[in-house]
Symmetry: C2
Subunit: 171 residues, 2 copies
């Protein structure tokens, strides 16, 4: 088994977006969807849908930047769980369009991230992935989970790590 | 620049533990430390100190398992911000004791994680790192951040990504 920048990006993003998609099913079965769509952890933090949108953006922009291509535009218009599920599905489908060879040399590719004020960061691809894309992606996945937990949805760590599947070691 | 399992583990853990350490300084300046030590997001979620302890455990156990060595024991006795800072420091010092060559071949090393009930997972090192250690680590770093934000501490994304330093592109 080899290790490369593909192994540290695409599967991680797909795993957690799949997990996040499943949390919506549990949440919808337990709580009022309309209220959850506005739930947030602090008045100056973004609500649940924005956490899904920013997780999606972070993942798809990472693959676009690491391959020097353009990510599909996904306007942040999702207004229901059904639309958030679809956002997860479209992001996952885009991520799955890359194979490992598409990221050959991505660790050395120059990545530039500019903020609206014109300032920003220039990285090599590996530093961009590990310094920015991965922590920022998990920030939004975990914040989505935290919002749902804080709102009383009965999720647990097995939901956060649902991609692991059942234990493969028996007692 | 090459990419390997070291580049996807030690620097990420050190970065975020350093960030987490700094959040405590902001929190102490703004809010009551005793109350924050008991803050949590949901009645059945662990409080702030446990999030620090589990981030520390996930990082140090990852390096131990990936290198086939033993991590230093750190009983979860921290009862103040000063002790949580020290936990961060000791974990960071342990992580920094590894260089990239210590992880040569770690992607193929068998990693076994057993739960108290005897069930568990067997992975190759790369799958363990990307499927379990990284998401679980960021789960606890982000949950610590979320607890502080939910309690009214004025943190922002630049605190979560403080390891990036100031922008290196000017307007």
């Amino acid at each position: 088994m080899s290790f490369n920048i593909y192994a540290a990006s695409v599967p991680l993003f797909v795993n957690s977006l799949t997990d996040m998609r499943a949390w919506l099913d549990k949440a919808a079965a337990e709580k009022d969807e309309t209220a959850l769509m506005e739930a947030r952890l602090a008045p100056d933090m973004r609500p649940l849908p924005a956490q899904y949108q920013m997780a999606s953006d972070t993942a798809k922009n990472a693959l676009a930047r690491l391959t020097g291509t353009d990510a599909p535009s996904m306007p942040d218009t999702e207004a229901s769980f059904a639309e958030l599920r679809d956002r997860c599905d479209r992001t996952i489908a885009y991520l799955r369009s890359f194979d490992a060879s598409a990221l050959d040399g991505a660790e050395d590719r120059e990545v530039v991230l500019k903020f609206p004020n014109g300032m920003g960061y220039r990285w090599q691809g590996a530093a961009y992935l590990t310094g920015f894309a991965l922590p920022n992606f998990y920030f939004h996945t975990t914040t989505a989970y935290a919002i749902l937990r804080n709102a009383g949805v009965a999720l647990g760590k097995p939901d956060f790590l649902q991609h692991l599947g059942p234990p493969n070691l028996d007692a």
